[in-house]
Symmetry: C2
Subunit: 392 residues, 2 copies
C-alpha cells in the first residue's frame, strides 16, 4: 500500500521552481470552489488585471493558460502561425531550439538565427535576417534564456520587428518579475511566461498576453488553430470580459488561487523593488563566486541576475557537487543543459529565492563542499565578498 | 491594491469539481521541491503505479498530463491521428462534439455516429459505421457523458473496435473512480480522465494511458505530432522508466502532490467499495428526487450514478433555483449544456461529494427552495425516501 508523500524541505536555487512563500502555499490549500462560481469569476478578473500590470500592458487578451510555460509557448505559436508562414527564430539556447520545433511541427517556414550558447541574440543578425526574408510573418526570441543565463535586448529586437511589419513572440518565462518587461512600451505582440520562476508561485500555469495586432492576425486565419485546448478564441470565451462566461475547460482552481496570491505579493513589493532586489542579490552572488576564482559563462553586460551560469572548475565532478549540496545542505542548484551540459552549474536567484540568506547559504555550502572534495579555489573570501556588496 | 482571495465554503454537487478532501488540500500545500529531485521522481513512480491500478492496466505509457481533461483528450487525438485518417466519433453530448472538433482540426476524416442527448451511444450504429467505413483507423466515444449523465457500454464498443482492427479512444473523465473502467480487460487503446470528478482531487491534471498497439501506431507515424507539449514520445522521456529523466517541461509539482494523495485515498477505500458507494448514494438521491415528482433525463439502465440530470419542472426558473441554492445553502449544482441548456439540472455525486450527507442536504435544500418559489411538487417525502434506501 502506497502511503502519503511528504517532500523534504529544500532551498531551491536551480533554474525553477523557485522557493514558494508559505502565503502562496496556504492560498493553494483553500477549499476548492466551482470554476463558474461568481466568487471565482471575480478572482479571475483580479488575476487578469494583475497580469496586465506586471506585463505592463493594456492587452485585453491577457490571461493564464492552464498548463506550464511550454504550453504557453505552444499557445503563442499555434495561434499565430499558419502553414507556410515564414518565421524567424533566434536560437541561443534550449528554449530557442524548442521554439524552432514548434514552427516546423506547425508547418511554418523556419529561418534560424543562431548565436552561441551564453551569448545574447545578435541584433545585427536579426536585422539581416529580416532584410533577407521580406515575407517574414513572425520574429520569435527568448528574452531570458534559462539554459544559459543570457539576457537579450528585447526592446531593440521588438522595434526591428515592428518596423519590418512583423509580429514578435517573446519568451519571458524567466524574465517576468525579475527584470524589466514592458509589453506595450516595447511593442511585443505575443508573450508567455511561467509561474515558477520570478513570480515564485508553484509550477503549472503560464501567463500569456497578445496585442491587438496579434488578435487581428488570429481572427483572420484561413486555417483553424490545430489545438482546441489552446485556441485563444475559445479560451477567451471563458476568460473574456462580460458577465457571461462560456464553459471551455475546468480551470485549475487551486493553482489559480496560488497565482493570485503570488501576484498580490509581487505588487505589494512593487516591480521596481523586485527588479532591484534581483540585481542586488545577483551582484552579491557574483562577488562571492568570482572571489573564489570561478567564472561566469555570460559576459557581464548580458547576465541575467536571476539565472547565474557558473563554469565548472577543471577536474571537478559536477554531478557529485550537486549531489553533495542536495544531500548535506538540502540545497538544489541546476545542471547544464544541451551544449552546456557538464560544463556549468545554473544557480537561480528567482523570486523568493532571491534573498540575502540564500546567497550566503549557497556560497558557504559550495565552499564547504569544495573543501570536502579538495577543489583548488580561494577559501575564506566568498561570503565576505558578498557581504561587502550588501554593506556598500 | 488587490487583496488576498478567500473563497467561500461550498458544497460542490455540480458536474465537477467535486468536494476535495482536506487531506488532498494539505498535500497540495506541502513545500515545493524540484521536478528533477530524486524524492519527487520516486513520487512520480508511485503516481504512475497507482494510475495503472485504477485504470486496471499494465500499460507502460500511463501518466498524468500536466493540464486539464481537455488537454488529455487532445493528447490522445494529436498523437493517434495522422492527416487523412478516418475516425468514427460517437456524439451524444458536449464531449463527443469536442472530440469531433479535435478530429477535423487535426486533418482527420470524420465519421459521426449521432445519438440523442441523454441516450447512450448506440452499439448497432457503431457496428454499422465500422462496416460502412472499412478504412477506419480510430473509434472514439465518451464512456460517461458529463453533459447528460448517460453511460455508454464501453466494453462492447471496444470489442467492436478490436474485432474491426480499429484503435479505440475512450473519454473516462467522469467515469474513472465512480464506475468500473477496465482498460486491459476491455481492450481500450487510449484513455483520458480528469482529477476533479470521481478522484476528488483539485482540477488541472489529466491521467492518460495508451496500449502497446497505440504506442506502435504513434511510433510509426510519418508526420510528426503537431503538438510539442503533448507529444507522448517526448513526455515519456520525463515520465518513463529508468533512473535518467530527461527534462521536458516543469511538472506541476504541488498539483501532483494532490493527485498522489487522492489516489492513495481511492486505493485505501478500494475501487469496488468506491463504485458501490457511488451507486448507493445515487439510488438514495433518485428515490428522493422521484418521490418529489421530478424525472430523470436518462433512462434507468444507462444512468450514471455520479452525474444525475434532472428535468426541470414546467414553469420553473432554473437559474433562479440554482442561484438560491448557492446563496442560501452555499450549494453548487450544474446547469444544462448545449441541447439540454435550460432543460435540466446536473447534480453531481462524485468522489467525496458522493456522501449521504450531501444527498440529504441537497434534497432538503431543493425542497425548501421549491417551497419558497411555490413550485408544485410533492413535499415532505424526499428525505424520507432517500433514508429508506440507506436503511434497506
Amino acid at each position: 500500500m502506497i502511503k502519503s508523500f511528504f517532500p523534504p524541505s529544500r532551498t531551491l536555487m536551480g533554474p525553477g521552481p523557485s522557493d514558494v512563500s508559505p502565503r502562496v502555499l496556504a492560498a493553494m490549500a483553500r477549499n476548492t470552489i466551482g470554476h463558474l462560481d461568481p466568487a471565482f469569476v471575480s478572482m479571475m478578473d483580479e488575476v487578469k488585471e494583475m497580469l496586465q500590470t506586471i506585463f505592463k500592458t493594456s492587452n485585453a487578451l491577457t490571461m493564464p493558460i492552464s498548463a506550464p510555460g511550454s504550453a504557453g509557448m505552444e499557445c503563442c505559436f499555434v495561434n499565430l502561425i499558419e502553414p507556410g508562414d515564414t518565421v524567424i527564430v533566434c536560437q541561443n539556447g534550449v528554449f530557442g531550439t524548442r521554439m524552432a520545433e514548434n514552427v516546423t511541427r506547425l508547418g511554418g517556414k523556419l529561418v534560424l538565427v543562431k548565436d552561441d550558447w551564453g551569448s545574447p541574440v545578435s541584433v545585427d543578425k536579426v536585422e539581416q535576417a529580416l532584410k533577407d526574408n521580406p515575407d517574414t510573418k513572425l520574429l520569435a526570441f527568448v528574452h531570458a534564456e534559462t539554459s544559459t543565463g543570457a539576457r537579450s535586448d528585447a526592446k531593440t529586437l521588438c522595434a526591428l520587428a515592428t518596423s519590418a511589419h512583423v509580429l514578435s513572440i517573446v519568451d519571458a518565462v524567466t524574465s517576468l518579475g525579475g527584470i524589466e518587461v514592458d509589453v506595450d512600451g516595447w511593442g511585443i505582440d505575443a508573450i508567455y511566461s511561467g509561474t515558477q520562476k520570478c513570480l515564485s508561485c508553484t509550477p503549472g500555469i503560464s501567463p500569456v498576453s497578445f496585442s491587438d495586432r496579434a488578435v487581428e492576425k488570429i481572427k483572420n486565419r484561413t486555417v483553424p488553430v490545430s489545438s482546441w485546448f489552446l485556441d485563444t478564441n475559445l479560451v477567451m470565451g471563458y476568460w473574456g470580459a462580460g458577465a457571461k462566461r462560456a464553459y471551455h475547460h475546468t480551470a485549475p482552481v487551486n493553482a489559480l488561487y496560488a497565482l493570485h496570491e503570488s501576484l498580490v505579493m509581487v505588487l505589494e513589493e512593487g516591480l521596481d523593488n523586485a527588479w532591484a532586489r534581483h540585481e542586488l542579490n545577483h551582484e552579491a552572488l557574483a562577488a562571492g563566486v568570482e572571489a573564489m576564482g570561478l567564472a561566469f559563462v555570460v559576459e557581464k553586460n548580458s547576465r541575467l541576475p536571476q539565472l547565474n551560469s557558473i563554469t565548472i572548475p577543471e577536474g571537478v565532478d559536477e554531478a557529485k557537487v550537486r549531489g553533495l549540496l542536495l544531500e548535506n545542505y538540502s540545497l538544489e542548484i541546476g545542471a547544464g543543459l544541451g551544449a552546456l551540459a557538464g560544463k556549468v552549474w545554473r544557480v537561480g536567484l528567482m523570486g523568493e529565492s532571491s534573498s540575502r540568506r540564500n546567497v550566503l547559504y549557497f556560497l558557504s555550502s559550495l565552499e564547504n563542499t569544495f573543501s570536502e572534495l579538495n577543489v583548488d579555489v580561494a577559501y575564506g573570501v566568498a561570503v565576505k565578498s558578498a557581504l561587502a556588496i550588501y554593506e556598500s
